[in-house]
Subunit: 372 residues, 2 copies
Amino acid sequence: MSAEVVDSNPYSRLMALQRMGIVENYERIREFSVAIVGIGGVGSVAAEMLTRCGIGRLLLYDYDKVELANMNRLFFRPEQVNMTKTDAAVQTLSDINPDVVLESYTMNITTVQGFETFVSSLKNKSFRPNKEGSGVDLVLSCVDNYEARMAVNQACNEMNQTWMESGVSEDAVSGHIQLLIPGETACFACAPPLVVASGIDERTLKREGVCAASLPTTMGVVAGLLVQNTLKFLLNFGQVSPYLGYNSLKDYFPTMEMKPNPQCSNVACLERQQEYIVAKPARDAALKAKMEAEALLVPEFPLHADNEWSISVVDDSGLDSMDATSSDTLPEGLVRELPSADKSQELPTSEAPLTSNDDLEDLRRQLEALNS
Amino acid sequence: MSAEVVDSNPYSRLMALQRMGIVENYERIREFSVAIVGIGGVGSVAAEMLTRCGIGRLLLYDYDKVELANMNRLFFRPEQVNMTKTDAAVQTLSDINPDVVLESYTMNITTVQGFETFVSSLKNKSFRPNKEGSGVDLVLSCVDNYEARMAVNQACNEMNQTWMESGVSEDAVSGHIQLLIPGETACFACAPPLVVASGIDERTLKREGVCAASLPTTMGVVAGLLVQNTLKFLLNFGQVSPYLGYNSLKDYFPTMEMKPNPQCSNVACLERQQEYIVAKPARDAALKAKMEAEALLVPEFPLHADNEWSISVVDDSGLDSMDATSSDTLPEGLVRELPSADKSQELPTSEAPLTSNDDLEDLRRQLEALNS
């Protein structure tokens, strides 16, 4: 991956991220494998973005064919109608960047055989044999139904594989992305989405005569946020968002964090939660060691040594007493309706404060009596 | 534009926006003309989104050629290298959706001749002869330099043309979109961007050996936000954002509004500001008439008539007294460290409260004495 700044280098604008201090080592992207499940309006754009960023290897999963009805979203072209989405994606992506290793799986991961193939493809380490854990660095879920999300969730919980979920609403005007780390964050079964609680059968969305709305804008934004979060996660820059929503009608972007549910119905999730709790002392020790190591690296020169704006520290004891005087002396003829700031802190002590040692001893005795 | 829900209809998922109550009349999009200045990382994706949405007519402006160094952004393909960006865009867009009328201008709008051609192309009304104002409904600025932005600003101020500006930072990790309505909001000269204030010559960005970073993610998100705002503006749904920023490192999206600067250096801006002030009484009267007409349309049935969750109003006087009792009776052996909620409101009245009529009369007399 050349950093040479010439018009003929497809990586020059990416390698510039290093020179600008955003990413420490951009070339590491060549080592990473990302699996994308669902090559629709979000997944196809996510695949194109990662391909243009020079990702090492992409694994693509879909069983659908390209239709003219998909033309209102980015990526697929009318001449690809009737091709499988995986074949069409490989055609376009290999043309854009032949450096990326592409693997495509034309199958439904919610079938028994499809799920097995999905899991074994994620475990395959031939691209980077000495990698820890599975054969991929991240799984991106870009599917449009609950069953497929639960299949990704099951596979990732079983394999202890970090993944990101994405989704767009049926009315096409909102969406979200979410980071899921087995045992550490909520899994997809810990907090089922509302669409399930209200009893809508998502399979109806796929039926002839019933269709959800979609827009290339919302799907492009969600794909962009998803791959940006992926780059931050893989290349270790910025803050990786645990959850980011997109309400396009109000341009509102809610964020939140979700802890795992100790009553989760997914057995593999409960196992990962247990492992996460057991590993806490080791994690804390590693964090402490890291912070101590970083403390040794603190530079010797003071912060803001140049002081461009000539900001100086002023002794404010004079200001303090002046302020106290001015607040006590009101103009003649005026009286306070409420006590001044200082006096309002003198609260009435109608009941004895709980501060003496005797009272504490007394309480402790009562507590022990209750426990025995 | 058919709303038929079959796999062979490229507009079915867009027309579904109507059935879902998001857009009142989606087909109106066929009447609109949008000009896109700059067909780079943001402009090309914005053009593709509008093309896939079935926009009536697109006007494209750029003087650059496609280079391999552009392959880290969406849209252009390696086989288009050395084509002009306008020709390559027309090739791809007409293939995606032949229903869109495409006009391309391969020229630099910052030259005298380029600027004249730019303005006259915007004024051309052959697509919709009875349209008010100019021949386009919106201008999108997707350029990468200050001079070109100032040229768009000048043309739009002169023509009283609403436009939207977009931009991505040199370090590739933040961006923004902004709505500019001459006379009503700040124009681009009212509040010059910081990059000018700090004295960087943006032309250096184009030189061999010096290059800014860029990412398909940030540019895809900015293009998505820009075209979403465009759809909301044209099709009249949701809230059109006056300014929306995107800080990808923190996933932070600042918003703000900017009023025009009465000391703006742009003469045309000052003229539009004056017109806007003069038209205020007529605008207020129209707004009042619209609100009165809408008040007449209020439905007769009560809000939430169905009450799906069986929510009912309960007399809470019983709850109130119960609560008061429980907060007064602490378990045996415990005392309060601070007064209870009710007692804390009994503030000390060390100074006379300002409530008697005499005191008010006294103050009023003093005030009159001061004023005389």
